[in-house]
Structures are given as C-alpha cells and as structure tokens.
C-alpha cells in the first residue's frame, strides 16, 4: 500500500475522534429498565485518520474494534466524545441529518454470506446507494452499477443474479462495489477477508489496494490478523479492551513495539520457517481477556502483563510518545519496552505452553 502523498495530508484528517466512548447497558427483564451493568466496549478513544492512508486497527475478539468501527460509521449513538468527518461534527446528528454524510463514508462488512440480502438481485443491492441518495435512476443507474461491477472485477452481465450464485470472494467484491458506488472518501473495512479462504484473501486485498489508488480512498482496515494488517497498512493502531494501547507507522510498530501487548501479539505469529520459529520463542501472556463489564483498574492490561507493577494497577497510562520515537508513534504504558527488549517467554515463566498457544490463536495468525 502506498504512503499518503504530501498533497493529500495538507487538507486535514478525514476522520477525527476525540474521547469517543461507547457503553452498552445490560438490562434485566423485559419490563423494568433497571440497568444492572455496563459493557465498556469502547473507552476514550482519540485518533485521526489521515487522508489517503490505510489505518490498520488490530485487536483480539472483544477488544472493541468492531464497536469502534460502528462508532465511526455512526451506526450507533456515541455515549460521549466527538466525531468529525472532514472537520464537521457528526457526533450527535440524527439519522436523517446523517444521510448526506453517509455518501462520504462507507463500510465493508465481514461476512460475505450475511452482508448481502439473499432475496435481492445483485444489481439491486449495488444500486441501493444510488436509489437511497437519489443519484441516478433507471438505465442510468444500471449503467453506473455495471461500471462499478467491472471496477471490482465482477462480470457486469451477472447483474440479475442472486448472491447465492456467487462464491465467497465474489460476494465480498459485491460488498466492495456497494460500498464504493457513490465514490466515498472513507471506507471502513471490518475484517473484510477474515471469512474468506486464504487463497482468495490476497485477491481481495490487492483489489482493495488498486481501488484505493484509483479512487483516492482512505481506509480503516480492521482485523485480528497481524500478518494481514502488516501487509496493507500505513499506520497501525492496537486495541485492547476498548482502548488504543499503541499506534505507530507500520515499520515502527514492528521494529520497535513499545507496549508489551503489541510485542506479545507479534511474537505469537507463527513463522513458516521452522528454523526461525525456534529462535523467536513465544512471549507469554497469562490468561484470557477480562470481561468488558468490569475492566481492570488502572492499565487494563496489567493482570496479564509480565512487566506489571503496582503503579500499573493504580494509574491509567496515557497514550503518548515514548523515548525518542517519531511523533506519530504513541503508546500507553508505564514501563514501555526499550529497543530490543524481549518479554519473558513461556519457558522462563513456567507457564504452560497451551496458554501461549491460546494467544497465537487469538492473534489469528495465518497457517
């Protein structure tokens, strides 16, 4: 993926989040409205999405990345915080007011089987944006739909077919076509390739790359798969339990991870080469992610962090530049990793290997 050009950066970030928080109440019973508990899906997230870049968003299941995506798309109400699209505040607009903004930001969904209405023809599905925003009608609409179908690599003659008649990869292309129909500025891709066979993933990823160049798109690419995100992103943000714990340019993140969680995720990626695998022993994280209903105090990662100390339980670390890093490399940690510092491995800590393996599974590494 290309770096954003300097000309584009000059016009300001496409999307700006400040203190975005989303809590889901847990209610008891159907009649009573008593709120028993709150799920802290996303907590105080602040980040900019720069024009023309691909921002990768990584995290385990339950990290809040999908919820964050839906906050960005304003598919849900924000509990608090601000969201700005091209400098305009869309944090609290009603659905009707949001409609014109929806032309500028679109979403690609994860499930190629669930994200397309099985009872509608593909041409109708892709034509939806044109219909909803009254852009084109009749034969003009059909022409526009077929144009975008060709653009994503689908045969325009399949206009009248139903989603069931396409393969998984093709369906995902349909989803991409639908998202790009009105030429948005920003595309949020929520795990667009996770449900596809590995051999198809490359196609779709490369398609997305080509389209980005051709249509001058900005992407937010959400995934749990570290190897994918490395391939596609300019910048990567790592999420844990509803917060961003580290964000950096791609190479910086992989070369100099500051947050222990990032390091652990990286080391959990299996390496195809058996010789190299022995050398990069797996870092140990203890246990499983805690429930977002009662997040740990202070630094949310502290119960699982091999480097945790009493300060970590007491005080929440701020997301800021550590050491002499580049200005856009931020980490939230009281004791960030120094250059070349390794985390204790499973053997050293005496933690059984299956635990480390569980982390690898969650990191969703490619086989």
């Amino acid at each position: 993926m290309k770096e954003g050009t300097t000309a584009d950066i000059a016009t300001g970030p496409v999307l700006s989040l400040r203190g975005v928080t989303k809590h889901f109440p847990v209610r008891s019973g159907s009649l009573s409205r008593r709120v028993q508990a709150v799920v802290h899906a996303v907590d105080d997230v602040s980040i900019d999405v720069e024009r023309g870049e691909t921002l990768g968003l990584v995290g385990e299941t339950g990290s809040g990345k999908s919820t964050l995506a839906r906050c960005m798309m304003r598919l849900v109400e924000l509990t608090s915080g601000t969201l700005m699209l091209d400098g305009e505040d869309i944090s609290h607009l009603k659905p009707r007011q949001l409609r014109p903004y929806r032309r500028r930001m679109q979403m690609i969904f994860q499930d190629p089987y669930g994200s397309l209405n099985p009872r509608r023809r593909v041409g109708s599905i892709i034509g939806d944006p044109f219909a909803i925003h009254n852009v084109a009608d009749g034969p003009e609409r059909k022409r526009a739909v077929q144009e975008i179908m060709e653009l994503v690599g689908l045969n325009p003659e399949h206009y009248n077919r139903f989603p069931a008649e396409f393969s998984g990869g093709q369906r995902q292309r349909i989803g991409v076509a639908r998202a790009l129909a009105l030429r948005p500025e920003l595309v949020i891709a929520d795990e667009p390739v996770s449900a596809l066979d590995v051999s198809i993933r490359a196609q779709v990823i490369n398609l997305l790359a080509d389209l980005q160049e051709e249509l001058k798109l900005t992407y937010v690419f959400i995934t749990h798969d570290l190897s994918v995100v490395r391939h596609v992103s300019n910048r990567v943000a790592v999420m844990y339990l509803g917060q961003i714990v580290e964000v950096a340019g791609r190479e910086d993140l992989y070369a100099r991870p500051r947050h222990p969680y990032t390091r652990a995720l990286q080391s959990a990626i299996p390496v195809p080469d058996p010789d190299e695998a022995d050398r990069s022993a797996r870092a140990a994280i203890i246990g499983e992610p805690p429930s977002p209903i009662r997040p740990p105090s202070g630094c949310r990662f502290h119960p699982r962090c091999p480097k945790a100390q009493s300060l970590c339980a007491a005080e929440e670390p701020r997301l800021e530049v550590k050491f002499n890093d580049h200005a856009n490399h931020l980490a939230a940690c009281h004791f960030p990793l120094a250059e070349g510092e390794q985390l204790p491995t499973a053997q050293v800590l005496g933690v059984p290997v299956p635990v480390a393996a569980a982390v690898a599974d969650q990191a969703g590494a490619a086989p």
């Binding site: 009707r96 032309r103 679109q106 499930d111 994200s115 393969s167 093709q170 639908r178 196609q203 990823i205």
Partner: protein, 325 residues
Amino acid sequence: MSVYDEMAVESLPEAQGPGADYVAGAIQGRSPWHLAFERLRHDRVAVVSAVVIVLIACLAIFAPLVATITGHGPDTQFHMTGLTPEGIPVGPGKHFLLGADELGRDILVRICYGARISLLVGVVAAGLAVAGGAVLGMLAGYMGRLVDTTLARLIDVVLAMPYLVFAIALWTALGGQGGIMLDVAVIAFFSFGAVARVVRGQVLSIREKEYIEAARSLGAGTLRIMFVDILPNVLAQVIVYFTLLVPAAIVFEATLAFLGIGTTPPTPDWGSMLSEALNYYEVAWWYVVFPGLALLATTLAFNLLGDSVRDAFDPRYSRIFTREK
C-alpha cells in the same frame, strides 16, 4: 515477509475450486421464487388442489349460467317439482341434479351461488388479515421497544378473545345488520394477530443480520429497509400463511352462517344451508351431503395447496427423513 506478498494475484482465476464453472455459468439468475414455483409445479397434490380450486371458482363465477341451464334461480321456490305432496324435499333426480331443499329450491344452483360468498369472504378476509398482520408485525419487529410492546400486548389481547363469542356479540350489538362485510371484518380482525406474531418473530431475527446493518450504513431510512430489505424475506412465510388462512376463514364464515350470523336468508350460503339441513337430514340426506362435500372439498383443496406451498418454499419441511442440522 508475509504470506500475502508472495502470492501472485494474476495466477488465480475468478472463482475458486472445482465446480467454479458450475457456479459461474450454469445457474442463470434463478430466483428463490422461481425455484419454489418449479417445486410446486411438480407436486401432483398441489396441482390437483389448484385444479379443484379453479373448478369451484368457476362454479362461483358461472353460477348464473348454471341457473340458466337448469332453469332454476337460486332463490326461486319450486313447490310443484321440488317438494313431494307431503311437503318433503325431492331428492337428486331429473328435475334437481342434487336435490331440492325444504322450500323447493335447487340445491345445485344454491351451492354455486354459495361458493361466491365462501370464496369471496375467505379470500378477502384472509388477504386483509395477512396484509394488516404483516405490516404490523414488521413495524413491531423492526421498530422495537415502545411500538413493539404496545403492539405485542394488543395482539395478545386480541388473540386471547374467544373469537366466535365476540363475533356473536358484535353481531347482536349491531342489531343483526352487517351482512358479509361484517363477516369479513370480524374474521380479518381475529386473524391478523396470529400473522403479526409470526412476522414479528421473523423480523426480530432478520433485524440482526448484517445486510440490514449494511442498509443502514448506506443511509437507508426505516421505511425503505422494511419494504425493500425485510419484506422480501418474510414474504414467503406470509404467502404460506395466506394459503392456510383462506380455508380457516371459509370455515369461520360457514360456522357463523350456521349459527345464523352474517348472511341473511334467503341468500344462499353453505353454512346456512347446512343449518337448515340439520332439521331435515332424516328425510333429505342430500341436503347435508352435497353442500357438505362442497365445503369440505374447498377447504381440503386449500389446505393441501397450503401445505404444498410451504414445502415448496422450504423443502426442509418435508420431514420425512431425519433432519440434518
């Protein structure tokens, strides 16, 4: 170096795996409706039922023709040829193909005219109930919370009411006026609740699907989502319900007429004919058998067709074999 860098895109064809050609070429735009219709077409029971229904409809439509052919109007009493000297109705024979009733009227002709009422009330009432129920069910299911709770409670109350008793109450309260319009209204009112409940359930599960979320992310409004995205997915169920509701409505109308509610004499109606027949079955078996057969044939045909339609839409329902999950 990641795995993805190493894969060359150009070498991979559009569709993967064996059968790719099958996917790409063979199936040309076959909609779920098309497939269901094909299944229905090949179902012998369905075809026979459909034919029977068409026949009965023809009898209804061409009732005046039957009257002309036999020379007997539906309300005309033939005391000379229809009744024996003792005043007992005449059986099936050369004058009256299916016999005569207690006033010397031609039962065949009356059955044909009676078919009009039964089919009309059945189809219209079922149609109204289904249309109303579907819309309400969609509203309740999609809009959730307050709308849903009030509608659900309303439906509960309506469903809890003993409908025959209430039909009776309504009829008497209106002083015995209303005719078949009342029938249609009452039947529709007491049937829409069941449809609404079923549709609501379906909508609740569809609402969580990703393509609905996709529609919202595109900026689609509530109405558009309901009618463009949700409706096609509940339509199949609604149609099945309709085909099963029609015979229920027909039976309901006949039952009301049997009790003296709805149609007024001398209008020919299967239910009221059978009500009179109760007094004469010992001397005029044809008075019970022929209208009864007509009624039974109609309801049976619709029920069989409804079953077949349901099977056509969802072959899993044949349930002959162990169901695979």
